[in-house]
């Protein structure tokens, strides 16, 4: 019983920061419109990278930069991650970092396969 009451209290606290406006995640519409606009701009920029056929390091840097910016804004603002508690942020955002290991391993593997193929096609 005590536990139940406590949980309810915790739940209310979670929404406490916005209690003045009512329940849940409430933020000004203006903020959403700004992020929306930014996402359009970043998408247009990344499209321009291809349209003007930028190549080499400039291309990869710009593509990754716009990708990271768009992804961060979507997660932080649209998915409200910016307003969640750190415990939830860590539980959701840290595990995907293990994927870097997979990506590194598969990059090494891909490179190795490529070299093996080149070597066997030469003979």
């Amino acid at each position: 019983m005590d536990q139940v009451v406590h949980n309810q209290a915790v739940e209310q606290e979670a929404h406490g920061g916005h209690a003045a406006h009512g329940e849940g995640q409430q933020h000004p519409i203006k903020l959403y419109l700004w992020i929306w606009l930014l996402l359009f701009v970043f998408s247009a920029f990344s499209y321009m990278v291809d349209y003007f056929q930028l190549q080499g390091a400039v291309r990869w840097t710009l593509i990754l930069l716009f990708m990271a910016l768009k992804a961060s804004f979507i997660v932080a603002i649209f998915m409200h991650m910016a307003w969640e508690r750190l415990a939830l942020k860590l539980a959701i955002l840290v595990p995907p970092l293990t994927l870097l290991v997979l990506i590194a391993l598969m990059a090494i593997e891909g490179d190795y396969t490529f070299l093996t193929r080149i070597a066997s096609f030469v003979h």
């Binding site: 990344s46 979507i74 415990a87 860590l90 490529f114």
Partner: protein
């Protein structure tokens, strides 16, 4: 209990307090926590697809078909590279915007606006899937792309393309159904009777995630 609700601490002390205390770890509605965990697992699925795509693209000795050319459209005699994909990207971003606003109006208990914005989101999602169907048809019928080969270069292009965009398209289609169901419930007052509109936010999380995945597909598959 020693913890008063008002004593919730911020920062890393808060993390250890949240995780070690004999209580609910995440002070959010359970549906939201579960959706986040589902999305985390989905992140791993899509990452595996994209990583396998990276692996086959790195290891092939044939040239990779140039996406800029493959996905070009000819409009009124003008050859515009990647046009359809750019439009699809804009449609999906727009739908993310309408969804964010729907969540907002949901918490304001504005039933009509919430439902309308959600229907708009679903309609844009449907539009996206339609364009994807057009893209697939064009690639299969006109360009002769197959999962096992294509006339433009590396055979792995087809399998990577169909797998990644197909799985994403499936997510969008599922999302359209999901949003439609929730929007209908918003309209008939289900969440007013339930006393909370958090389901709208949870559906929103799913939809934004679909948009998020597209950001990565757009960068790695179409622009790389």
């Amino acid at each position: 209990m020693s913890h008063e609700p008002s004593a919730l601490e911020p920062g890393f002390r808060g993390v250890s307090a949240d995780w070690s205390a004999d209580k609910q770890a995440f002070p959010v509605p359970w549906g939201k926590a579960m959706m986040w965990i589902f999305l985390l697992s989905d992140t791993f699925i899509f990452s595996c697809f994209l990583t396998s795509y990276m692996n086959v693209r790195m290891s092939t000795t044939e040239t990779w078909p140039n996406p800029s050319e493959v996905f070009a459209l000819t409009v009124g005699g003008h050859h515009i590279p990647l046009l359809l994909i750019a439009i699809m990207t804009m449609v999906l971003i727009t739908s993310s915007g309408t969804m964010a606003m729907a969540v907002n109006f949901g918490y304001r208990r504005d039933r009509k606006r919430t439902a309308m914005l959600m229907f708009a989101t679903a309609a844009l999602g449907l539009c996206f899937v339609g364009m994807q169907a057009f893209e697939w048809t064009k690639l299969i019928v006109e360009e002769g792309v197959r999962p096992w080969g294509n006339p433009m270069g590396a055979a792995q292009f087809g399998s990577s393309f169909f797998m990644i965009t197909g799985f994403h398209g499936l997510h969008v289609s599922g999302g359209v159904i999901y949003l439609t169901v929730v929007a209908l419930r918003v309209l008939n007052g289900f969440y007013d009777r339930k006393g909370t509109y958090e389901t709208v936010e949870v559906a929103g999380l799913y939809w934004h995630f679909v948009d998020l995945v597209w950001v990565f597909i757009f960068a790695f598959f179409y622009l790389w």
